[in-house]
Amino acid sequence: MSKPKLRMPKSFRRKSKGEIALHIFVSFIFFLVAASYVYVFLWAVVAGTKTHTEIVINPFSLPQEWHWEHFLDVFSLLEVNGKNFWDMLFNSIYFSVGAVGLQHIVTMSFAYCCTKYKFPGSEWPYVIILIMLTLPLYGSGGASYRIYKALGMVDSYSHILSALSGFSMNFLYYRACFKSMSWSYAEAAMMDGADDFVIYGKVMMPMAKPIFGALFLTGWLGIWNNYESALIYLPNIPTLPVGIYQFNTEMVYRARLDILFAACVIISIPAIVLFIAFNRVITTNVSLGGIKG
């Protein structure tokens, strides 16, 4: 009977022993860090099945009785300012998908126009964004709040209009994408009688789908998790992170840490699932700064 051949992992082929040892050591460090992240999530899962008293008195023990029903109770008991879980879920989807979608459509169109068309000032946005990024201005939060208030965009669904901004880092990503796209596709479409709207909508925009998808997902994750601006501008239209935060601050009256942690787990799941599904799209389509040579 012949011995089964032991095959080296692909990543170890053509590596010296020292490098293999280094990779194993690095992987071990990474494992510890990654395990700590997983542990935190699992801790929240276990905490969600315990009673409030158990969480307070012994946060690291396993529950005496596993109360999985707490994960269902979240849908009825997570309530702040008269808004229940479903209201908060709607607000989160409205502001994350809506705002990020609007922002990316506006930014992509703006970047496309400024990159592929030459007109007086077409280079200005690029220069302005570089200046904005490298010379940041601080302290305008109070002035901004007053502007939003004056425009009726505080505690209002119209706050989504603030996302119609094209002067951001995303402009640079889209600019890089359109710069590398050949104009010959547009010329061919023009020969067939397509105008600028059709060329953009049916030829160039579809070619920018991968970068749009990657940036949309990362942008969505950011807004889905955002509590800072939502807490200031939308305190009475709570999104899920704001709801969780407010639920926690009202904890002295409720004593339901179990519901709080069960909710933390439930609302993290959509983002985790989406990220696992699309992580390759995100990590291979975004780059910045170029390569020399």
């Binding site: 990543s11 490098e19 990779h23 194993i24 992987s27 990654a34 992240y37 997983v38 935190v40 999530f41 929240a44 690291f60 703006f110 126009c113 400024c114 068309y117 030459k118 007109f119 690029y126 302005i128 904005m132 990024l133 490298t134 010379l135 601080y138 302290g139 305008s140 939060g141 109070g142 002035a143 901004s144 709040y145 901004s165 094209g166 640079l172 890089a176 990362t218 994750l221 998790n225 509590y227 800072e228 200031i232 305190p235 969780i244 942690f261 933390c264 993290s268 983002a271 990220f275 696992i276 995100i282 990590t283 389509n285 780059s287 910045l288 700064g289 170029g290 390569i291 020399k292 040579g293």
Partner: protein, 305 residues
């Protein structure tokens, strides 16, 4: 594609297309960036009665000279946090590099290292608070280690709070910017690295003499952005301590000014004072930014976005 060509009639549909693409972002920028910052500039020189004055700047100077004022603590902690961010910057690039070089389980780490960005920061902070509570093993471990009479409230004790906030930040930001670096490293031509391997180049030489120089435009840009964001350096101060127990940072202080007055019709002079502080740190940040840009000038010119 030229929109306006000499001697040729204007293509109205093309002009309409350009207007449609540009009008919304420009209006938005004019209102929420230009007007907001101009208003903020005026507010910096306005006192609580609405008159022009330097009152806010005088107050800032007085608070800066007071060792226990929030502003003084905020400046100290911001510089401390920023120093730590600068020191750990190369380590974060190395994390992405080793994942790019496919250390064992790299594919798993690529996903798990995103968990801190995926899980709500609000939820993470609350879980973290509970885990280091007096009833947890971490507080008891600190008690044993320092021989304390009882387990410390790590986030409610000025001896530990700032260290804990910084450790929390280091723990969660360990993977660095995997998206940017991952995307950038994958654009390095494989044949360059393969020929280096054939020549017997070890990993450190490959990293320092091939990989980093090849992605230098990205390194330079990230460094410039990092230094420009110096006053944004902060851990999860608002969520963990609300700036109490000596943990205040500039960005947390600014946020708390807004948060504490949300919905209040009387903002007193808080917004004006905030604008004045913002103006001062903007001037400092611009100085730092210009200095850094000069330093990385050559590399910066080669950046292709």
């Amino acid at each position: 594609m030229e929109v306006f060509r000499k001697g040729k009639p204007i293509n109205k549909r093309r002009v309409l297309f350009v207007i449609c693409c540009c009008i919304l972002p420009i209006i938005n920028w004019l209102i929420f960036y230009v007007f907001a910052n101009v208003s903020s500039f005026v507010m910096a020189f306005t006192d609580k009665d609405g008159a022009l004055s330097f009152e806010n700047f005088v107050r800032f100077w007085e608070e800066l000279n007071n060792p226990v004022s929030d502003i003084r603590i905020a400046f100290r902690n911001t510089f401390l946090t920023f120093g730590i961010i600068v020191v750990t910057f190369p380590l974060k690039v190395l994390v992405s590099y080793f994942i790019y070089k496919k250390v064992p389980l790299a594919g798993v780490y690529r996903i798990l290292f995103f968990l801190p960005s995926i899980i709500f920061s609000v939820a993470l902070a609350m879980i973290f608070q509970k885990m280091i509570s007096v009833n947890g093993f971490i507080a008891q471990w600190v008690q044993d280690w320092l021989n304390l009479s009882q387990p410390p409230e790590l986030l409610a004790d000025s001896r530990f709070a700032n260290t804990v906030v910084i450790l929390h930040m280091l723990w969660l930001t360990f993977p660095g910017d995997l998206i940017i670096w991952g995307g950038t490293f994958t654009r390095i031509p494989n044949d360059v690295l393969e020929s280096a391997q054939i020549d017997g180049v070890n990993w450190w030489k490959e990293f320092t003499m091939i990989t980093v120089p090849m992605v230098w435009p990205t390194v330079a840009l990230q460094m410039v952005l990092m230094f420009c964001g110096i006053f944004g350096a902060s851990g999860a101060v608002f969520l963990l301590t609300k700036g109490m127990y000596g943990t205040m940072t500039i960005s947390a202080w600014m946020y708390l000014q807004l948060y504490n007055l949300t919905g209040s019709p009387h903002t007193s002079n808080a917004y004006n004072y905030m604008s004045a502080v913002g103006l001062i740190i903007t001037v400092i940040a611009i100085g730092i930014s210009l200095g850094i840009r000069k330093w990385t000038d050559k590399a910066f010119e080669e950046v292709e976005f």
